[in-house]
């Protein structure tokens, strides 16, 4: 069964169409890269899936359950078990690295012992386990990226959404973190929706690439097909 289904979803902001008749199916474990120029609606797709906004028309389902339909949000964000890494990372500046990870776990009612276990585990995975008590402002760009990723993954989400997370980093770091992401995906097997405007990045990260333009899907191709071109 598909994990995520967008069925004829449309969304407009102040009369401007952001998404028009958007339909997409994502299988569990799949890595989907959404590629397109600025303003094509990529971020809107993620925000609809996360539950921050409601579709004007169409339905969105996660794991067989309709979570939003025709202007209504039927399942709140905190109930969807979706993780997200924002473009500006949105790490909470007043909390330490451990605090950033613990916030969501506490909210979900996870016990203290398990929280500690999960936090230590994920931070080890992203090689940030020595920075438990550090505040985000004291970390480098790459380190902040890893913490943002860890924060999203520590909750063991059904799907991980990433909104151009590497766009502000230099080429070397970008490459390195792409590799890290793929390694984590191989280890944890999460479903990934990755938004980018960079073709090379899309091809490397995604197993399939959804090309968008002006709020609609232009084309969906597998990355093998893209690589062979």
């Amino acid at each position: 069964m598909a994990l995520i289904v967008f069925d004829c979803v449309s969304k407009a902001y102040s009369g401007q169409t952001a998404l028009h008749d958007f339909s997409l199916t994502v299988e569990p474990g799949q890595r989907v890269a959404i590629l397109g120029p600025s303003g094509c609606g990529k971020t809107t797709v993620l925000r609809l899936l996360a539950g921050f906004i409601a579709p004007d028309a169409g339905t969105i389902s996660i794991d067989g359950q309709v979570v939003a339909k025709n202007g209504k949000i039927l399942q709140q964000p905190e109930q969807r078990h979706i993780g997200m890494v924002f473009q500006d990372l949105a790490l909470w500046p007043h909390l330490t690295v451990a605090g950033n990870l613990e916030f969501g776990l506490k909210a979900q009612g996870i016990s203290k012992s398990e929280r500690i276990q999960r936090i230590n585990g994920i931070l080890q995975l992203v090689e940030m386990d020595t920075y438990l008590r550090t505040r985000p402002a004291q970390l480098s760009g790459g380190q902040q990226q890893r913490v943002a990723l860890a924060r999203a993954l520590v909750l063991r989400p059904k799907a991980l959404l990433m909104d151009e997370p590497l766009s502000n980093l230099d080429e070397e770091l970008n490459q390195h973190l792409r590799g890290e992401l793929l390694r984590l995906h191989a280890q944890l097997g999460f479903t990934l929706l990755y938004v980018t405007h960079d073709r090379a990045e899309a091809v490397e990260i995604g197993t399939c690439v959804v090309r968008m333009r002006q709020g609609s899907i232009e084309r969906i191709v597998s990355t093998e097909e893209l690589k062979s071109r």
Partner: protein
Amino acid sequence: MNTRRVTLCAALLVLLILGVAPIALMFARSLSVNGAFSLESYQHLLATGRSWQLLSNSLGLAMITAVICTLVGLPLGLLFAKTDLPLRRVFVLLFTLPLVIPPYIMAVSWSDTLAPHGLASSFFGPATTQKLSGLLFGSPGCVLVLASTFMPAVMLATMTFTRTINPRLEEAARLSARALRVLGGITIPLIWPGVLLAATLVFLLALGEFGVPTFLRYQVFAVESFTQFTASYNFGAATAAAVPLALLTFLLLGIEWFALREKIQPLRPASESDSNYHVSLRSYRVPLFALVSILCAIVVLTPVLSLLLQGGSTQSYLRAFRVVSDSLMRSIFLAAIGATALTALGFFTGYLIHTRGLSIWRAVDAGTVLLFALPGTVIGMGLITLWNRPATNFIYATPLIIVFGYLAQYTALTGRVTVAGLTLVPASMEEAAATVGANWMRRLGLIVLPLVKHALVAGWLIAYIFCLRDTGIAMLVYPPGYDTLPVRIFTLMANGAPSLIAAACMLMIAATVLPLLGVAALVRTQRRRRLWR
């Protein structure tokens, strides 16, 4: 010579002459008895146990007021800024109303409300009303009046800081936590230092307030010192009595600098394309709406309605207008001039503080806050001492002296608002202009000022409100025949007809609120025009 440095020094000089010099003179007088150096005024102040008792009354009143303002203002601010509560804008306007009214007038209107034939009597009956009236005259009444007057400061600060939080921070939390937890765990901690600053301002305002405790017969330090001084014409004692207030202000400033300043998140501009994170109240909507409505009805509508009814018929209002129209026009004129001058001076002092343009920027910041915290009577006496000379009659014998008083007392407000506005402007903006050859004046006028214009407008409005409601300074220095409306209201209170006084108070409220509504309408029109484009 460096234009920037010269300009900032000039602004500093203006502040020194208008604000610091009068106070320094008063302080010097407090150290002299019969021409010789003496600490008698201070010894007398500290010797009596009563002074300490009164000081603790003042501190207690200020602390309770600040705490209540925070406990009520913070949730209200969050409700109005972050939820879908119906009629939010109307509530914001209504709750802000007491802030624009001189606290003394609020005390009078509560007294009218709880009078034997007042508004409360119609609802609760004479016996209950009398009991409530008994509570009004004392510390509970002072807390009620001061808290309802100053609570909007915390509410508005909450709304301002909340709106400038990066929405992604809250959305990231929403992925795993319910709305209330997000508010408690993310939103409030991020805005807390800003809210605490507003609470500090409330504390200072409540500490220095003496009109309300005088009227409601609660013995506080500011009242006793004022009345002692006025009964015995001892200017030195008056200044000595202001010193504990000044010391407390320094203490608060210290706390603010060391504990809070670094923790305040830089404000980010709320861009139109950003969707502000909102919480749907769902089933809580109706009960919360009811709760807020009841609070508004008790704290705001009751005293204002009481004043409105006490004002009488339309004829009565017209009569009142005829009686006070001259002082009303003068008040509006002076408040507008004062606000403009304060915006200008506040801009330069704020720029000085924000950019640390002179090495003594901390002293400038402290100085303006200290002047704000001092009772208006002390500043007034200082102004008389400094400016009442034949050579400066063109200042002292004219309304200019009132404007000088405003500049001395309220520069902290516009300065701080400017600092908040400048925080939103990246330094790179000015630097970029410098790299293309623009001199400092050009950069200031063409780059910085347009970028902070919203802060300047906000500062102008705040300054207008404070200038319009000012009594302490105006009472002491207004030129003969040039009384302002608050002063006129106070003079009429001695045996004036209650309906006349109430109508004059309502005119004062209208004079304050209407320009604010006008500016709000203008801003909305401009926003709509921008959207249309």
